[in-house]
């Protein structure tokens, strides 16, 4: 009954007859599908990187920020004097049972020097448990110790970039790095992490005991953040609640007044980040989708021209016994052939472009097989959708009128 194969051959012949036109029409689809594949690839790549970055924050981590944060996530009072103290952090470990370890945290940027080399980098003041919480091992040497923290010792663990920049071809262990002219001895080098999603070099930093950072480098008495690790995922919420109560009490905040700190758990931060990356993927996909629709309109346009041009052919086919459905199928298959071949080439182009981006600009891209499958069926759907109207127009022609058409 269905003479699909013969009809496909007719469609193929009709398309080959007008090679340039076929090519140009397909180009619309190629660009559309290619753009969708590349854009979604970029979005997914970013998402995957954010996810791995969040995983690298460690497990069951709660972060206490100094200052309050509005519901939209905007930090207020960021630049002002901090509200968290070392005593606060000690109280958290002491009084909340579900907390395993914490790391008081203080951050700054500073000029550092080694010999005659200068470098501008981030300085993190942390507790000795920071490396565990963040699951960021020291690969050469060892992390600093609780004694180093107690004594505010001048010891430092450096990222791979610092090691490479300040001590090229040398062993950085035991060397002196001057942070704001304060000499620190390097005791360890961190495992290299590479670029973050935002393109920041994660290995460009120096970690020192938070006490040393407060007393010797920044000369402040308050902390910026406190990293808290809960024992189990189920404890995240209760611990978070207890931290809020404890700090309100310690900061003497009366009921009804706002917190002067913010507590976020890892899940919340992850959700926020993935929501952002999802929005980005969606936006990129939507922009690319527009070009796909434009490609579809191109197909519709060409099919309408083709139906008009071939009115006589349609009349001849009908006169010798083609049913309306045969004609409909012929033109629909023609449209779908255009869109599917365009789609397949577009998938190839999209994969190529995103691999080029990944290789040349070190943009993380991720082409999932589902997005390829979706793109394939979507391009077929575009052919059916935009081919249907012209095909139906052809199939409804009256044989006599079509034969008489000049």
């Amino acid at each position: 009954m269905m003479r699909i194969w013969a009809t496909i051959k007719i469609a193929g012949r009709a398309l080959r007859r007008n090679k340039l036109r076929t090519l140009l029409t397909m180009l619309g689809m190629i660009i559309g599908v290619g753009a969708v594949i590349a854009m979604v690839g970029i979005g997914n790549g970013a998402k995957a990187q954010i996810e791995s970055q969040i995983a690298s924050m460690g497990q069951n981590v709660i972060i206490v920020f100094s200052g309050s944060m509005t519901r939209s996530g905007i930090h207020t009072g960021w630049g002002g004097a901090g509200t968290l103290t070392i005593e606060d952090s000690e109280a958290i470990v002491r009084e909340i049972p579900g907390v395993t370890v914490i790391s008081p945290e203080i951050m700054s940027t500073a000029q550092v020097a080694a010999g005659n080399q200068n470098w501008f980098t981030r300085i993190l003041g942390e507790g000795p448990d920071y490396f565990d919480i963040r699951q960021w091992p020291v690969v050469t040497g060892s992390p600093f110790t609780p004694q180093d923290v107690r004594g505010a010792n001048k010891v430092a663990v450096v990222g791979q970039t610092i090691a490479d920049q300040l001590y090229p071809g040398e062993d950085p262990l035991g060397q002196i790095v001057r942070v704001k002219n304060v000499p620190f001895i390097i005791v360890g080098v961190l495992k290299a992490k590479g670029l973050s999603v935002q393109g920041q070099d994660q290995d460009d930093l120096i970690i020192i005991p938070y006490t040393s950072a407060m007393k010797r480098v920044q000369r402040v008495t308050t902390l910026r953040t406190i990293l808290v690790q809960a024992a189990r995922p189920t404890l995240l919420n209760p611990v978070q609640q207890q931290i809020i109560e404890l700090l309100r009490q310690r900061h003497k905040i009366t009921p009804g007044k706002d917190d002067d700190f913010t507590v976020r758990n890892q899940q919340e931060i992850a959700d926020m980040a993935t929501a952002q990356s999802k929005t980005m993927t969606l936006l990129l996909g939507a922009i690319a989708g527009v070009s796909l629709v434009v490609g579809g309109i191109g197909i519709m346009n060409i099919m309408l021209v083709s139906v008009t041009e071939r009115t006589r052919e349609i009349g001849i086919r009908m006169a010798i016994g083609a049913r309306g459905r045969d004609i409909l199928l012929q033109f629909l298959i023609e449209a779908v052939t255009l869109s599917v071949i365009g789609g397949v080439v577009g998938i190839g182009a999209g994969v190529g472009v995103s691999q080029l981006l990944a290789a040349k600009m070190s943009w993380p891209t991720l082409i999932s097989s589902t997005s390829v499958v979706y793109a394939f069926f979507f391009s077929a759907a575009v052919g059916i959708f935009f081919g249907f109207y012209p095909a139906r127009k052809a199939s409804r022609l009256d044989p006599i009128d079509a034969l008489r058409y000049e």
Binding site: R3, R317, A319, I320, I400
Partner: protein, 253 residues
């Protein structure tokens, strides 16, 4: 009664613009199996309109048309398409071949729309046999623009025959051909008719009508005369006579 075509008071009115054109005004006729009918008449007398109705390409405005005993006026578009495919072979004045498509593929075309689909090899064989019937097998791969008018019309006839219809309809099949080619085409028709195919053709040329067995004359949408052909011409004889005459001319020159 086993009439292939039974027309009962057929009318056709074209509603175009402001005036209605009453192209066929009450035609009644019966055509039996094995007949060879020529419909004649002046231009505009409604011949093509009537042929299109007989060929199920168009519908009568009024009246009944029985094809092989079936009332065609009751059928829908798809049924009419199937009838055109299976029962009727139609030859047009303008050949109506698909350009840039070989003669063989043109002839294969009706088999594409057959319900019981034939394997590709069998389609080719049947198309070749149809081309042989019209004496054009050796031109199977030629495209219409590589063929003369007479050859194109033969391809069109082969296409009309390929689904082995009982009825062959032709609207001015020789209208675009010179006289010798016209006689050749009439030869093909006479052979087919001898094999049992019923033929109805429209022509406005008196001598062409004489190759048929029965002449129907139309005027203003009505049949005004319907007579058997008494002095029927045989294409074979006429062709021989023509060739002899041509030779005589060549000899004297």
């Amino acid at each position: 009664m086993n009439a292939v075509i039974q027309l009962e008071d057929i009318h056709k009115v074209y509603h175009t613009g402001e005036v209605d054109v009453h192209a066929v005004r009450g035609v009644s006729a019966a055509i039996q199996t094995g007949e060879f009918v020529a419909i004649m008449g002046a231009s505009g007398s409604g011949k093509s309109t009537l042929m299109n109705i007989i060929g199920c390409l168009d519908r009568a405005t009024r009246g009944r048309y029985l094809l092989d005993g079936t009332d065609v006026s009751q059928l829908d578009r798809d049924d009419l398409a199937d009838i055109r495919n299976e029962k009727i072979g139609f030859v047009f004045q303008g050949f109506n071949l698909l350009s840039r498509t070989s003669a063989l593929e043109n002839v294969e075309l009706p088999m594409l729309y057959v319900h019981r689909h034939l394997p590709g090899r069998e389609q080719r064989e049947r198309a070749l046999r149809a081309l042989e019937t019209v004496g054009l097998a050796e031109r199977a791969d030629h495209h219409p623009n590589q063929l003369s008018g007479g050859q194109q019309q033969r391809v069109a006839i082969a296409r009309a025959l390929v689904n082995q219809p009982a009825l062959l309809l032709a609207d001015e099949p020789t209208g675009n051909l010179d006289s010798q080619t016209s006689i050749e085409i009439m030869g093909v028709f006479q052979t087919l008719n001898q094999q049992g195919i019923t033929i109805v053709m429209v022509t406005h040329e008196l001598d062409i009508a004489r190759y048929a067995k029965r002449n129907v004359i139309m005027r203003d949408g009505r049949i005004v005369s319907d007579v058997p052909v008494s002095d029927r011409l045989q294409a074979e004889t006429e062709l021989r006579r023509l060739r002899d005459a041509q030779q005589a001319v060549q000899l004297t020159v």
